[in-house]
Symmetry: C2
Subunit: 133 residues, 2 copies
Protein backbone atom coordinates (compact mmCIF):
# COMPACT_ATOMS: atom_id res chain seq x y z
CA UNK A 1 0.00 0.00 0.00
CA UNK A 2 1.43 3.37 -0.97
CA UNK A 3 1.56 6.17 1.55
CA UNK A 4 0.03 9.45 0.50
CA UNK A 5 0.68 12.44 2.75
CA UNK A 6 -2.58 13.55 4.31
CA UNK A 7 -3.92 10.02 4.22
CA UNK A 8 -1.52 8.90 6.91
CA UNK A 9 -2.85 7.13 9.97
CA UNK A 10 -4.91 9.74 11.79
CA UNK A 11 -3.84 8.52 15.18
CA UNK A 12 -0.09 8.75 14.72
CA UNK A 13 -0.37 12.00 12.75
CA UNK A 14 -2.59 13.65 15.34
CA UNK A 15 -0.95 15.97 17.89
CA UNK A 16 -2.88 17.17 20.92
CA UNK A 17 -0.09 19.68 21.56
CA UNK A 18 -0.99 21.55 18.38
CA UNK A 19 -3.78 24.05 19.05
CA UNK A 20 -5.25 23.49 15.57
CA UNK A 21 -5.24 19.70 15.47
CA UNK A 22 -8.71 18.08 15.62
CA UNK A 23 -7.39 15.94 18.46
CA UNK A 24 -6.97 19.09 20.56
CA UNK A 25 -10.63 19.96 20.04
CA UNK A 26 -11.61 16.43 21.05
CA UNK A 27 -9.40 16.65 24.14
CA UNK A 28 -10.90 20.00 25.14
CA UNK A 29 -14.38 18.51 24.78
CA UNK A 30 -13.83 15.51 27.01
CA UNK A 31 -11.24 16.96 29.41
CA UNK A 32 -14.12 18.55 31.27
CA UNK A 33 -15.57 17.32 34.56
CA UNK A 34 -19.19 17.57 33.43
CA UNK A 35 -18.56 15.80 30.15
CA UNK A 36 -16.77 13.00 32.01
CA UNK A 37 -19.58 12.63 34.55
CA UNK A 38 -22.35 12.69 31.93
CA UNK A 39 -20.53 10.18 29.71
CA UNK A 40 -19.87 8.04 32.78
CA UNK A 41 -23.62 7.83 33.42
CA UNK A 42 -24.48 7.04 29.80
CA UNK A 43 -21.97 4.19 29.67
CA UNK A 44 -24.56 2.24 31.67
CA UNK A 45 -27.35 2.87 29.16
CA UNK A 46 -29.83 5.55 28.02
CA UNK A 47 -30.84 8.15 30.60
CA UNK A 48 -33.26 11.02 30.89
CA UNK A 49 -32.28 14.63 31.64
CA UNK A 50 -33.99 14.52 35.04
CA UNK A 51 -32.20 11.29 35.98
CA UNK A 52 -28.82 12.75 35.02
CA UNK A 53 -29.45 15.94 36.91
CA UNK A 54 -30.34 14.01 40.04
CA UNK A 55 -27.38 11.65 39.69
CA UNK A 56 -24.67 14.25 39.04
CA UNK A 57 -24.25 16.23 42.24
CA UNK A 58 -23.77 19.96 41.78
CA UNK A 59 -24.68 20.21 38.10
CA UNK A 60 -27.24 22.85 37.13
CA UNK A 61 -29.99 22.12 34.63
CA UNK A 62 -28.46 24.67 32.28
CA UNK A 63 -24.98 23.16 32.46
CA UNK A 64 -26.37 19.65 31.96
CA UNK A 65 -28.28 20.79 28.87
CA UNK A 66 -25.19 22.53 27.51
CA UNK A 67 -22.97 19.50 28.13
CA UNK A 68 -25.45 17.13 26.48
CA UNK A 69 -25.75 19.44 23.46
CA UNK A 70 -22.00 19.67 23.02
CA UNK A 71 -21.61 15.91 23.24
CA UNK A 72 -24.52 15.46 20.81
CA UNK A 73 -23.07 17.98 18.39
CA UNK A 74 -19.73 16.16 18.50
CA UNK A 75 -21.46 12.92 17.56
CA UNK A 76 -20.84 11.26 20.93
CA UNK A 77 -24.38 11.36 22.32
CA UNK A 78 -27.71 10.58 20.67
CA UNK A 79 -31.00 12.13 21.66
CA UNK A 80 -34.12 10.07 21.13
CA UNK A 81 -37.66 11.34 21.51
CA UNK A 82 -40.41 8.83 22.29
CA UNK A 83 -43.83 9.95 21.00
CA UNK A 84 -45.62 9.75 24.30
CA UNK A 85 -47.73 12.33 26.07
CA UNK A 86 -45.75 14.15 27.34
CA UNK A 87 -42.89 13.20 24.99
CA UNK A 88 -40.10 11.26 26.67
CA UNK A 89 -36.51 12.19 25.75
CA UNK A 90 -33.59 9.85 26.32
CA UNK A 91 -29.88 10.39 25.86
CA UNK A 92 -27.45 7.61 25.03
CA UNK A 93 -23.90 7.19 23.81
CA UNK A 94 -23.56 6.88 20.06
CA UNK A 95 -21.34 4.11 18.66
CA UNK A 96 -18.53 6.72 18.56
CA UNK A 97 -19.39 7.82 22.11
CA UNK A 98 -19.05 4.24 23.32
CA UNK A 99 -15.31 4.67 22.79
CA UNK A 100 -15.34 7.05 25.77
CA UNK A 101 -15.73 4.15 28.18
CA UNK A 102 -12.00 3.65 28.67
CA UNK A 103 -10.77 7.25 29.14
CA UNK A 104 -13.77 8.07 31.35
CA UNK A 105 -13.08 5.02 33.52
CA UNK A 106 -9.35 5.87 33.71
CA UNK A 107 -10.11 9.42 34.89
CA UNK A 108 -12.79 8.53 37.41
CA UNK A 109 -10.79 5.61 38.83
CA UNK A 110 -7.77 7.87 39.23
CA UNK A 111 -9.91 10.49 40.98
CA UNK A 112 -11.44 7.91 43.31
CA UNK A 113 -8.06 6.42 44.20
CA UNK A 114 -6.28 9.75 44.73
CA UNK A 115 -8.95 12.23 45.75
CA UNK A 116 -8.15 12.14 49.46
CA UNK A 117 -4.43 12.64 48.85
CA UNK A 118 -5.10 15.57 46.52
CA UNK A 119 -7.41 17.27 49.01
CA UNK A 120 -4.96 16.66 51.88
CA UNK A 121 -2.14 18.21 49.86
CA UNK A 122 -4.29 21.25 49.10
CA UNK A 123 -5.11 21.65 52.77
CA UNK A 124 -1.40 21.52 53.66
CA UNK A 125 -0.52 23.98 50.92
CA UNK A 126 -2.99 26.69 51.78
CA UNK A 127 -5.52 28.74 49.96
CA UNK A 128 -6.93 27.84 46.55
CA UNK A 129 -5.76 29.39 43.33
CA UNK A 130 -8.66 31.30 41.86
CA UNK A 131 -9.83 29.92 38.57
CA UNK A 132 -12.60 30.94 36.21
CA UNK A 133 -15.56 28.57 36.13
CA UNK B 1 -8.37 -6.76 60.44
CA UNK B 2 -11.48 -5.11 61.78
CA UNK B 3 -13.42 -2.68 59.64
CA UNK B 4 -14.08 0.74 61.12
CA UNK B 5 -16.51 2.98 59.27
CA UNK B 6 -14.57 5.95 57.91
CA UNK B 7 -11.48 3.84 57.50
CA UNK B 8 -13.03 1.88 54.67
CA UNK B 9 -11.17 1.56 51.39
CA UNK B 10 -11.02 5.11 50.00
CA UNK B 11 -11.37 3.92 46.46
CA UNK B 12 -14.60 1.99 46.82
CA UNK B 13 -16.11 4.56 49.20
CA UNK B 14 -15.27 7.48 46.91
CA UNK B 15 -18.01 8.83 44.65
CA UNK B 16 -17.19 11.28 41.89
CA UNK B 17 -20.93 11.89 41.48
CA UNK B 18 -21.08 13.51 44.91
CA UNK B 19 -20.17 17.19 44.69
CA UNK B 20 -18.50 17.08 48.13
CA UNK B 21 -16.41 13.95 47.72
CA UNK B 22 -12.63 14.55 47.50
CA UNK B 23 -12.66 12.45 44.34
CA UNK B 24 -14.83 15.08 42.66
CA UNK B 25 -12.23 17.75 43.45
CA UNK B 26 -9.52 15.51 42.02
CA UNK B 27 -11.61 14.88 38.89
CA UNK B 28 -12.25 18.60 38.41
CA UNK B 29 -8.52 19.26 38.72
CA UNK B 30 -7.41 16.79 36.07
CA UNK B 31 -10.46 16.87 33.78
CA UNK B 32 -9.01 20.03 32.27
CA UNK B 33 -7.25 20.24 28.92
CA UNK B 34 -4.34 22.32 30.21
CA UNK B 35 -3.76 20.05 33.20
CA UNK B 36 -3.78 17.01 30.91
CA UNK B 37 -1.34 18.60 28.46
CA UNK B 38 1.03 19.83 31.18
CA UNK B 39 0.99 16.46 32.96
CA UNK B 40 1.51 14.75 29.61
CA UNK B 41 4.73 16.73 29.10
CA UNK B 42 6.01 16.07 32.61
CA UNK B 43 5.49 12.32 32.24
CA UNK B 44 8.67 12.41 30.11
CA UNK B 45 10.75 14.15 32.78
CA UNK B 46 11.38 17.56 34.38
CA UNK B 47 10.67 20.59 32.22
CA UNK B 48 11.12 24.35 32.41
CA UNK B 49 8.27 26.88 32.11
CA UNK B 50 9.61 28.20 28.80
CA UNK B 51 9.86 24.67 27.37
CA UNK B 52 6.28 23.87 28.38
CA UNK B 53 4.98 27.12 26.97
CA UNK B 54 6.66 26.44 23.64
CA UNK B 55 5.52 22.81 23.54
CA UNK B 56 1.83 23.36 24.44
CA UNK B 57 0.27 25.18 21.51
CA UNK B 58 -2.18 27.92 22.46
CA UNK B 59 -1.41 28.15 26.18
CA UNK B 60 -0.69 31.59 27.59
CA UNK B 61 2.10 32.16 30.06
CA UNK B 62 -0.47 33.11 32.68
CA UNK B 63 -2.56 29.96 32.17
CA UNK B 64 0.55 27.77 32.25
CA UNK B 65 1.64 29.35 35.54
CA UNK B 66 -1.84 28.89 36.99
CA UNK B 67 -2.04 25.26 35.86
CA UNK B 68 1.41 24.45 37.29
CA UNK B 69 0.50 26.13 40.59
CA UNK B 70 -2.73 24.18 40.91
CA UNK B 71 -0.98 20.89 40.18
CA UNK B 72 1.79 21.80 42.63
CA UNK B 73 -0.70 22.75 45.32
CA UNK B 74 -2.50 19.42 44.82
CA UNK B 75 0.76 17.57 45.39
CA UNK B 76 1.03 16.33 41.80
CA UNK B 77 3.86 18.55 40.58
CA UNK B 78 7.12 19.53 42.25
CA UNK B 79 8.99 22.75 41.62
CA UNK B 80 12.74 22.72 41.97
CA UNK B 81 14.96 25.77 41.94
CA UNK B 82 18.60 25.34 40.94
CA UNK B 83 20.89 27.96 42.50
CA UNK B 84 22.35 29.26 39.28
CA UNK B 85 22.59 32.77 37.93
CA UNK B 86 19.90 33.36 36.88
CA UNK B 87 18.15 30.66 38.97
CA UNK B 88 16.83 27.76 36.90
CA UNK B 89 13.35 26.40 37.79
CA UNK B 90 12.19 22.94 36.78
CA UNK B 91 8.82 21.26 37.17
CA UNK B 92 8.38 17.53 37.51
CA UNK B 93 5.69 15.06 38.52
CA UNK B 94 5.74 14.11 42.18
CA UNK B 95 5.46 10.41 43.10
CA UNK B 96 1.69 11.01 43.43
CA UNK B 97 1.64 12.85 40.11
CA UNK B 98 3.30 9.89 38.41
CA UNK B 99 -0.05 8.10 38.85
CA UNK B 100 -1.44 10.49 36.22
CA UNK B 101 0.39 8.64 33.47
CA UNK B 102 -2.47 6.23 32.78
CA UNK B 103 -5.48 8.59 32.73
CA UNK B 104 -3.54 11.21 30.78
CA UNK B 105 -2.53 8.61 28.20
CA UNK B 106 -6.10 7.28 27.96
CA UNK B 107 -7.48 10.78 27.30
CA UNK B 108 -4.87 11.86 24.79
CA UNK B 109 -4.98 8.54 22.92
CA UNK B 110 -8.76 8.79 22.71
CA UNK B 111 -8.48 12.37 21.41
CA UNK B 112 -5.87 11.39 18.82
CA UNK B 113 -7.91 8.44 17.60
CA UNK B 114 -11.25 10.27 17.45
CA UNK B 115 -10.42 13.92 16.88
CA UNK B 116 -11.19 13.90 13.17
CA UNK B 117 -14.56 12.17 13.69
CA UNK B 118 -15.51 14.65 16.41
CA UNK B 119 -14.63 17.66 14.27
CA UNK B 120 -16.44 16.18 11.24
CA UNK B 121 -19.57 15.65 13.34
CA UNK B 122 -19.41 19.23 14.60
CA UNK B 123 -19.10 20.52 11.06
CA UNK B 124 -22.16 18.50 10.01
CA UNK B 125 -24.12 19.67 13.03
CA UNK B 126 -23.57 23.39 12.65
CA UNK B 127 -22.50 26.21 14.84
CA UNK B 128 -20.71 25.79 18.15
CA UNK B 129 -22.45 25.97 21.46
CA UNK B 130 -21.02 28.94 23.32
CA UNK B 131 -19.15 28.03 26.41
CA UNK B 132 -17.38 30.06 29.04
CA UNK B 133 -13.59 29.75 29.00
Amino acid sequence: MSHIPGQADQRSAADVYSARCPSRAALALIADKWAVLVAGCLVDGPKRHSWLRHQIGGISGKMLTRTLRELERAGLVERRIFPEVPPRVEYSLSPLGASLREPVAALTEWAKANGSLVVEARTRNGRPVERAG
